[in-house]
């Protein structure tokens, strides 16, 4: 019997288990998925939890519900991958041999990487919203906060869902307006990049949002430390930004398992071929989603498109056929802009987000790179799609794994 082992039962791992269970011949193959956690979180919901838009119940479910019965689900912490022996060692000492391994261990926040961040003020007036605990603590803080300087901050790139911090700033503007206290809050967006928007088309189309919402930008800010005693963040050029409430996106890193196994780069991401999803160093190991070092966005939609292509490449690998070099970095993301509106962006490795319609060329109904209520409805409907279609590996109609160039104003694109 041959065995395919998936490490991680998050968005990517769960999708792969669902895709492969019907594709691998049952007489020859068994599938095992390993994850230490019982709960499967709807991570896009962490953006809404702080603003009381979603309840805690709406963003978490028992992960087991989404793993097919035929798949062996092991709830254990993984201690080590031994790629030379094609084995995985669990924390309890069990050894699991594999024929093929899929790494889907994701990315985590690493607030310890910045001096003073993960200190006595963590979850007092310094918060993340990339974890369930962070988003929930921040919700409780916002419920009672009387106003002051709100600083929304990105530590360094790459981060999961790169637009989420900007969405957070937009939603904060709406939230405080609705509470009748917007005049008591100053919102500042602090980024290591050279703007809240970094691509020419998006900057031109969307910069008005910052002005309209009176969000201040501090750019090229590379944080050196958090001075939690005096409530300010300080960068390497000695620029200081004061805060009363700091909402930060800490450094993102791959799982420590990858570091322990000696399989990652500086940030514990796994070097992976960007078109085939096979890892660079081992033919029988593949990687998907946030765990890879791909130059694509770390986002659920990217993982979704990768899963369709990876499924095909696993089958090709088993049959001894050449792998398809098909993944193009496709991402498709709704961006909340507040006041019940949202944007939609669609892009890949070589094309920046542009204006147009989606998914039907010239028709829509969704508009690319423009604010609309329909896009917001799309984002809200997505939670249902996630739980009921996406992680179950059900194809989303009309949305293809590679990016379509139809219905888009691509003619002026240059990077």
């Amino acid at each position: 019997m041959k065995r395919l082992v998936i490490l991680g039962a998050g968005t990517s791992g769960t999708m792969m288990a669902n895709h492969l269970v019907s594709k691998l011949p049952k007489k020859e193959w068994s599938i095992t998925i390993i994850d230490q956690y019982k709960t499967h979180y709807y991570q896009p919901g962490f953006l809404f939890l702080p603003f009381d838009v979603y309840t805690t119940k709406q963003v978490k479910k028992n992960g087991k519900k989404f793993i097919p019965k035929e798949v062996d689900y092991i709830q254990q912490k993984i201690d080590l991958i031994k790629p030379e022996d094609s084995k995985v060692i669990l924390e309890n000492g069990d050894e699991i041999s594999y024929t093929i391994l899929i790494i889907a261990t994701g990315t985590k926040i690493a607030p310890d990487e910045t001096e003073g961040m993960h200190g006595p003020k963590w979850y007092k007036n310094i918060f993340d919203f990339y974890t369930f605990e962070g988003a929930k603590s921040l919700r409780n803080k916002l419920r009672e906060w009387q106003g002051g300087k709100l600083v929304v901050h990105i530590t360094e790139m790459p981060i999961k869902c790169p637009v989420a911090p900007l969405e957070f700033a937009f939603l904060a503007d709406s939230y405080f307006k609705n509470k009748g206290m917007r005049d008591k809050v100053e919102i500042t967006f602090v980024t290591p990049l050279d703007g809240a928007f970094t691509k020419p088309k998006a900057t031109k189309a969307l910069h008005y949002l910052l002005e309209e919402k009176k969000i201040k930008e501090v750019t090229d800010f590379n944080i050196e430390r958090v001075d939690y005693e005096n409530n300010k963040i300080i960068d390497y050029a000695d620029t200081e930004v004061e805060y009363d409430l700091l909402v930060t996106v800490p450094t993102n890193m791959g799982d420590e398992l990858i570091e322990r196994s000696g399989m990652g780069d500086d940030l514990n991401f796994v070097p992976t071929n960007k078109t085939t999803l096979q890892t660079e160093n081992y033919d029988n190991i593949f990687a998907i989603g946030d765990a890879t070092n791909l130059p694509a966005s770390k986002a659920g939609s990217v993982a979704h498109f990768e899963a369709e292509i990876l499924t095909e490449n696993i089958l090709r690998y088993i049959n001894g056929e050449p792998l398809k070099e098909e993944f193009d970095g496709h991402a498709n993301c709704f961006i909340e802009t507040g006041n019940g509106k949202a944007l939609l962006i669609d892009f890949n490795y070589s094309h920046e987000p542009v204006e147009g319609t989606f998914p039907f060329p010239g028709v829509g109904p969704l508009k690319l790179l423009k604010e609309s209520r329909t896009n917001h409805m799309g984002k809200m409907a997505f939670r249902w799609i996630y739980w009921n279609m996406l992680i179950k590996g059900i194809h989303i109609p009309f949305v293809s794994a590679t990016m379509s160039e139809k219905g888009k104003k691509l003619e002026e694109v240059n990077e």
Binding site: E113, E156, M157, P158, P162, V163, P192, L193, D194, F197, T198, K199, P200, A202, L206, T219, D220, N222, E224, Y236, A237, T251, D265, D266, L267, K274, N293, P295, S297, A331, C333, I335, I345, F347, E352, P353, N414, E415
Partner: protein, 102 residues
């Protein structure tokens, strides 16, 4: 768009970043550096080579990467490329600036 750099037509984007890495050479680099009021030294070239190497390997550039590179420490990096060192150093290196998805 085209920009005349050392009497050659070079393809650049609206912000002045090279679109074709193969059009880059040290002369072009020195000229762009001059526009940023930077005079290139041996140490500058070491940093430029490190940045180009990361770009060719498609690895993301960050201040952390510079810190761990062994080429230079961060204070020196700021001294060599004052005011937004990553965006200036990438422009001089002929590679795209670090960016987000929008």
């Amino acid at each position: 768009m085209k920009k005349l750099i050392v009497n050659r037509e070079i393809d650049v984007n609206e912000e002045g970043y090279l679109l074709e890495f193969k059009q880059w050479d040290r002369e072009v680099s020195e000229c762009i550096a001059g526009e940023c009021e930077i005079v290139m030294t041996e140490k500058h070239w070491e940093v430029i080579e490190y940045i180009q190497d990361k770009h060719l390997k498609e690895e993301p550039l960050s201040i952390r990467g510079i810190k761990k590179s062994g080429v230079i420490n961060i204070k020196e990096f700021y001294n060599l490329f004052p005011g937004g060192p990553l965006k200036k150093a990438t422009m001089i290196a002929g590679v795209p600036k670090p960016k987000s998805c929008i």
